[in-house]
Amino acid sequence: MNQLHNRHTDTDFEIRFVNEFGVNNASTTHRAWHNVKYLIAGILFGILLVKSEVISWFRIQEMFRFQEFHMYGVIGSAVVVGMLSVRLIKYFNIRTVDGEKIEFQSKKFKKGNVIGGLIFGFGWALTGACPGPLFAQIGTGAAVVSVTLLSAVAGTWVYGFFHDRLPH
């Protein structure tokens, strides 16, 4: 396992460099069962997504038509709390449960932020879901959304296929 890690060090750097979120910045390695804590965090997050109605196709339409404040309130207050948390982590130099320093890298602007952003916006309004809600919607029993999810995986794959030829 460790050997595997070393062999991939360069590509690990690579995936961080292309403006990514949802990545692992930890240097401590754990056994696989440690991932259960992320499963539990995910369950709580999934419940939140459903009970806040963020996964509602109707709520997304209201947001893009400026008919209700709800979604703006959810995202806005999430950002405020996130921002305060990041400030506190930096100010008090809070460490991870493993005692690691929490690092924040800056992101570089790329054209994809605009082009990809617009494309995702189109998809968000059509499906009424961003990637997180897709998983939650399937969980609530909307089985056909698994087709939407597969299609999103396909979209990601096609992006990867054309990655070197697209403007960035």
Binding site: H8, D12, F21, G22, N24, S27, A32, Y38, L39, G42, G46, L48, V50, K51, S52, V54, I55, F58, I60, F64, R65, Q67, E68, M71, G73, I75, S77, A78, V81, G82, S85, I94, T96, K107, N113, I115, G116, G117, I119, F120, G121, F122, L126, T127, C130, P131, F135, A136, Q137, G139, T140, T148, S151, G155, T156, V158, Y159, G160, F161, H163
Partner: protein, 190 residues
């Protein structure tokens, strides 16, 4: 006690749900230096299942397996919320939107995902194909091209005061506003 449980079964107001969603950012950082973001899971699925010698998918996805556990959790969370924390009332919806959608024949308000639009037979109609298949494709392609989605850019990125994330989030909104107001009505008429 019953009163508390009854409250939980109602839809949660934004000022309760929003701050809790925001706390996911420090939670994942403190649990293990993980940067909150969900669309990356789609990339890890590609890397794990169909890397096809594409350099974009050749990285050590096993190191990112936490992200797949997290999205699996979201799926189970959706199940728990739908089975144990639900009420029988129709979904909350703005009156103008309700009237407009009724004009397109979308009247079933029993679920957060409208069953009039999203069902398996719909896949064989142009309307359903556009909403489900094309929509999903745009979500996957767009989020990866943009380098993140609502969780990564709008919440984590703006929390970290990253300009690219602010720009990306503005573009999500512009794209959504254009689609919902100027294109989607024609699709719903199909």
């Amino acid at each position: 006690m019953n009163d508390v449980f009854d409250r939980i079964r109602q839809p949660w107001p934004w000022y309760v749900a929003g701050p809790l969603i925001g706390l996911t950012v420090p939670l994942l950082l403190i649990l293990g230096n993980k940067l909150f973001g969900i669309s990356s899971s789609l990339r890890h699925i590609c890397a794990a299942c169909i890397p096809a010698k594409i350099s974009f998918f050749n990285y050590n996805w096993k190191k990112e397996v936490w992200n797949l556990f997290f999205v699996a959790g979201i799926f189970f969370g959706g199940y728990v919320a739908a089975v144990f924390l639900t009420n029988d009332r129709p979904v909350t919806i703005n009156e103008n939107l309700r009237e407009e959608l009724a004009g397109y024949g979308i009247k079933n308000l029993s679920a957060l995902v409208p069953s009039d639009l999203f069902h398996f037979e719909a896949l064989f109609t142009l309307k359903g194909f556009l909403l489900i298949v094309v929509g999903g494709f745009l979500v996957g392609f767009g989020t990866r091209y943009a380098g993140g989605c609502t969780s990564g850019h709008a919440i984590t990125g703006i929390s970290m005061l990253q300009l690219p994330s602010i720009i990306a989030t503005a573009c999500f909104m512009i794209g959504g506003i254009i689609m919902a107001n100027f294109v989607l009505p024609y699709i719903l008429m199909l």
